[in-house]
């Protein structure tokens, strides 16, 4: 009984406190900035449909800002739109636009610093410098936002979702396009990034460094200038993502640099110049990935140890694997290679002859890149064949001993 009374009291107290403040052209409060000033902790500010020219709204108390029928907040130039410096802030349903590029300050539509338990959802950000810039924060959620700009050059453009020194963040359902980097994480750990679509960014669709123990799944990264680049991180999981059409002379589906103890599975790499480029990465498990129509499916550059490739599909790639040097410490087993020419006498679905993924020609192209003009020529097919029969230049222990006869489903 006492408990119920206590809860009733609590509800009473909250209903007293959590006011709703309405902002619109005909309301008593016409400016969002004013509304934020007079609001008390826990209040909800409802912004009605309309056009508001406001910038540098600093939020220092836990409030909820909710837009009704997509009100437009126009930053109008060289300033932040929102600066959030308090815990438990929610911003939703707003259309934020016009933040100019600046060379000394990282101006953003929404800037969050040292905050916890915030939610940024269902906002549309357009024509901005940085989209959502978050520093030293925890337990935030960024979901279902649409972020885009019209960036042309790398030096005067910002990132869509930029996290620095955060942890336990959830980033999902966002659409980011035409920014510098779609999603950027630095020193951000224990976070989940899923269901996002990052396209047409001039640099990377996703870029992270020094960000450990994160999970990336169900994302789509397509048509980005340089694909996805991830560096210097440990214990990450990347699965069920699609890396599509990152074509270009310096473009990668996924660039892995100094990544250790990672799991990569169920990803699709379709039509990238280089599907995966890995450098200095150890103990990575590649499983059930599909590499299709890439220039190079996997390019291993050096200092990569104890990596395992299991049950991956390699289909219609110009080169399946390229290896730098003769030392190999990677382990290929049970993959499907579409150019495997062996046989399966006992009909168990596993080829009886080992497959050599590195062709002599891919070794030659590594040494002198101009030789690529001879791709698919008859002579190249002949030297590939002779190397296959008697390997001289390619690592002779680089074998798939159990190549599959049919695609891994």
């Amino acid at each position: 009984m006492r408990n119920i009374l206590f809860i009733a009291f609590l509800i009473f107290v909250f209903s007293l406190h959590a006011k709703q403040i309405e902002v619109c052209a005909t309301c008593t409060i016409k400016s969002l900035k004013k509304a934020v000033e007079i609001a008390k902790s826990g209040d909800e500010i409802v912004v009605k449909k309309g056009f508001y020219k406001e910038s540098n709204i600093v939020i220092t108390k836990p409030v909820t800002i909710r837009g009704e029928n997509n009100p437009i907040i126009d930053g109008g130039g060289l300033n932040y739109i929102f600066q959030i410096k308090s815990d438990s802030v929610t911003i939703s349903g707003l259309k934020l636009q016009n933040v100019q590029a600046n060379y000394t300050k990282d101006l953003a539509a929404i800037y969050i610093s040292k905050s916890k338990y915030f939610t940024i959802n269902n906002n549309t950000l357009s024509n901005i410098f940085f989209g959502i810039l978050i520093e030293k924060s925890q337990y935030g959620e960024i979901k279902n936002n649409a972020i885009s700009s019209i960036t042309k050059q790398e030096y005067n453009s910002g990132n869509g979702i930029h996290l620095w020194n955060c942890n336990h963040m959830m980033i999902h359902g966002n659409k980011v396009s035409e920014m510098r980097d779609g999603i950027y994480l630095e020193f951000t750990s224990k976070s989940k990034i899923y269901n996002n679509i990052s396209t047409k960014n001039i640099r990377y669709g996703l870029h992270f460094m020094f960000s450990d123990e994160n999970e990336y799944y169900n994302n789509i990264f397509a048509n980005n200038g340089a694909g996805v680049a991830v560096m210097f991180s440990k214990f990450i999981k990347i699965y069920r993502n699609k890396f599509v059409k990152n074509w270009g002379s310096a473009s990668y589906g996924l660039l892995l640099k100094e990544i250790n103890d990672a799991q990569l599975f169920d990803n699709v790499f379709d039509e990238n110049t280089i599907g995966i480029n890995t450098e200095g990465c150890s103990r990575i498990n590649y499983k059930y990935n599909i590499f299709i129509r890439n220039g190079w499916a996997v390019k291993v550059s050096g200092a990569c140890y104890a990596n395992k490739f299991r049950n991956n599909n390699f289909i219609s790639n110009a080169f399946n694997l390229s290896f730098n040097g003769r030392i190999n410490d990677s382990d290929f087993d049970g993959n499907f290679w579409d150019d495997y020419a062996g046989y399966d006498l006992d009909k168990d679905g596993v080829g009886d002859v080992p497959y050599r993924p590195v062709k002599l020609f891919s070794y030659i192209v590594n040494k002198s890149p101009e030789t690529i003009v001879l791709l698919r020529s008859l002579f190249v097919d002949m030297i590939n064949f002779s190397e296959k029969v008697a390997p001289v230049f390619t690592p002779d222990n680089l074998l798939d001993n159990n190549p599959l006869m049919n695609q891994v489903k």
């Binding site: 002379s249 220039g295 030659i364 690529i372 001879l374 008859l378 002579f379």
Partner: protein, 260 residues
């Protein structure tokens, strides 16, 4: 001239070899599409075949046709006809009939499998175009060899050697020189080296169509500038045309002076 083109064309159309050639491509097209079940993948596989086989068949047919119709040619020479008309007419007749076999033989199966609706229609069209170019080039080269050698065995030998040289050995020497002079900037050299071999040039033209251009761009700016733009396409086709014009011109001048 048109009469001679017509006669040699009809003569070939009636001959067994054109039908075999036609049937071969028809079968190849169907089998490839049946195995791949995917028009765009079949186009890539077909490229290897076209780039190697059309030159070979053009060469052999060219030499064979010349030696076989030698008596007929001598009969024609007795008539009040210009020599260039006779030889160029025969050449065009043969090259056209071979091209027709190629285009029909591959065109029919791809049409049946619906290449028109697919996105690779232009890739396929350029593949056929390159095939036709290669046929014309290699028939003219074969005529040259046959005109210069009255000995059949020697003529055949040289023709096969020429094919081997352009299809295989050239690439081998090219590759080795690229690797030997690795320390020097080689992109211009390799561009020029490609131009001197019609097989290489056609292969690259098709590869560009198949979106390998990004791979080429990977190697350096020169490649990307050249192959990435339509300039590269135009220059390449001009060079291929030159590869037809020069041998044909030599056929004409050689035929004028030759003592039969």
């Amino acid at each position: 001239m048109f009469k001679i083109i017509k006669y040699s064309f009809y003569d070939l159309m009636r001959s067994r070899w054109s039908y075999i050639y036609f049937a071969f491509y028809l079968l190849l097209g169907f089998v490839m599409l049946f195995l791949n079940n995917n028009v765009s993948k079949a186009v890539i596989t077909l490229m290897n075949v076209i780039v190697v086989l059309t030159p070979l068949i053009g060469t052999i047919f060219g030499v064979m046709f010349y030696y076989n119709s030698k008596e007929f040619t001598e009969l024609l020479l007795a008539q009040p006809l210009k020599r260039t008309t006779i030889f160029i007419g025969q050449y065009i007749g043969l090259a056209t009939s071979l091209s027709l076999s190629l285009v029909l033989g591959l065109g029919i199966p791809f049409l049946v499998y619906g290449v028109i609706e697919s996105t690779v229609i232009w890739n396929f069209a350029s593949l056929l175009l390159v095939g036709v170019f290669l046929t014309f080039i290699f028939v003219s080269l074969a005529f040259n060899i046959a005109l210069s050698n009255d000995n059949k065995i020697k003529g055949f030998g040289i023709a096969i050697l020429m094919w081997l040289l352009l299809a295989v050995i050239y690439d081998g020497v090219f590759l080795i020189s690229l690797m030997l002079f690795n320390d020097y900037p080689l992109d211009k050299f390799s561009l020029i080296a490609c131009m001197f071999n019609p097989i290489d040039l056609s292969r690259i033209l098709i590869l560009l169509k198949l979106d390998i251009s990004a791979l080429l761009g990977y190697t350096g700016a020169v490649f990307q500038q050249f192959f990435g733009t339509s300039l590269g396409m135009i220059v390449s086709f001009l060079v291929l045309t030159l590869w037809i014009i020069l041998p044909v011109w030599r056929i004409a001048s050689k035929a004028k002076k030759k003592d039969f």
